[in-house]
Symmetry: D2
Subunit: 167 residues, 4 copies
């Protein structure tokens, strides 16, 4: 069995529709349920929920929580997937890259433009791609979504196109 | 072929997720697409889009538009299904009942607590039920949702339970 | 709470794909799982699994099992839905009609042309319709599928059209 | 835009349920429809349907058709994904490896244990993974399914486990 860590921080990928308020919010964890829909026979997926926030609301403290959690996992190194809101995904990723200069595993940041379980969602595609990227890619920090792989320093969100582009 | 009119006014059942704003809104018509997912071999479904509004924003003018559209259809009478936001569904239905005392067909109001195409949506269930109710029920104005059939004067939305109850 | 009995006998509606044989078979019960996807807030659904057979393989004994199960339920009468293969659905229904002349509740036979959970399946539509028909229709034996309601003596399967037609 | 060739040969991944026969068969192409469900903003996917066969029925001639099609595509080299039945996927892959010693692109063979669009299908996961593998992997012939990547000479189908294992 190969291990992979999945660290969940919230973002659109985990948003849910609230019947009481009629709006989408970060309520419960969805990642685990969708991971179970994938066939991962030789993968030991260890999921950790760090927070469940819209990434526009993430603070410096929140990013330190993510960094600490990654450092903690690196004591028994294995590839990592971090689910994250797309708006500040690059900011978090750059901090990881800068603070972890001797990284020996790939860290994949991913998320979604439409929440998991909503018609037309890209969430399961991005999770699937990120888990495969975690297996194949070499050490470094990346954004993986929509069949694209960006070294973190080359990723920029294009809000209008609802996707990442090279910078 | 049996005819049924489907009049669409908006409401949660037709809301969609906007990737640009990260919120759910009444954007496009969804009803037709979901009707095509049903097997209705002897049904001549005639769909009319009247408006696409959150029912909390419906005005007296909007309700007159609905009433006029129903009257227009009644020149060639056939059962009707009206998709509508749940918050003021009873208000619209009571106006139809009061203004149309000699109704010879059933008029079914329906909607959803979670939009069509969102995980856990009750939209397709309610559409399916309403089309069957339109075939079976006698003349009158009804709310049909969640396997329940309410004559309009006995329907009350229980917001906390996210469903209609008898009054 | 209103009670409804759901008696499961198998048929296409419950077939599943077997990865070992590469064919579709009646393996496990699926009805309960799909009923849980519906919102039935005031319905007390009592499900009974009688058998899980392709209806072409149902014998006279099997039909007696169905009749006995219906009679047993009629001691505490409530509307019934019987899920059944479409090929001999009418045969079973006619036997119920003939053997139960004083029926005081509706008995709805339903099934599917494509199994529940397969793309394009009519199974959930037919279950949804049958549960509403069980609430609304008067005493008698019916086939309910595809927004159609047939008194059993007027139902005939049209195999080529993959649906029931009037006879 | 980056080009990828998708060559379709049939197999379980493309099987469909036939309402007339009650069995699963290779009827129409499904791959294109499912590819459209993925977000591939910078990918120029060129799909070619070579045949639509259960791989147990593939002949030497069929395999030559695949080899010829691959050779034809290699005149304008780009990564390739070949959808294929799992039973003889390794046989076809080994022939490609042996006949194409100077391969400069990755060729990914993939398929499914349960057809696309059937509940619990692994088809879309495998397509998603294969398209990402086609972007990342170096030259060679591989089987990619279930988050696993096998160089073709190390892939063996374990029929009982319904997956590939290392040999």
């Amino acid at each position: 069995m190969r291990r992979v860590y999945v660290l969940c921080t919230g973002g659109t990928i985990e948003k849910a529709y609230s019947e009481q308020t009629g709006s989408v919010q970060n309520l419960d964890s969805k990642i685990d349920r969708y991971l179970r829909a994938l066939r991962l026979p030789d993968l030991d997926v260890q999921t950790w929920r760090l927070m469940n926030k819209d990434s526009l609301e993430m603070t410096g403290d929140d990013r330190r929580t993510v960094l600490d959690a990654v450092r903690e996992r690196l004591r028994e190194p294995a590839p990592m997937v971090i689910t994250h809101g797309t708006d500040t995904m690059v900011e978090t990723g750059m901090e990881l890259k800068n603070e972890l200069p001797d990284l020996a595993v790939p860290i994949i940041l991913t998320g979604a433009m439409t929440p998991l379980g909503f018609e037309g969602s890209d969430g399961l595609q991005n999770l699937t791609e990120s888990l495969l990227a975690a297996r194949i890619l070499g050490p470094g920090v990346y954004v993986v979504m929509h069949n694209q792989v960006f070294p973190i320093e080359h990723a920029r969100k294009d809000r209008e196109k609802a996707r990442f582009v090279w910078k």
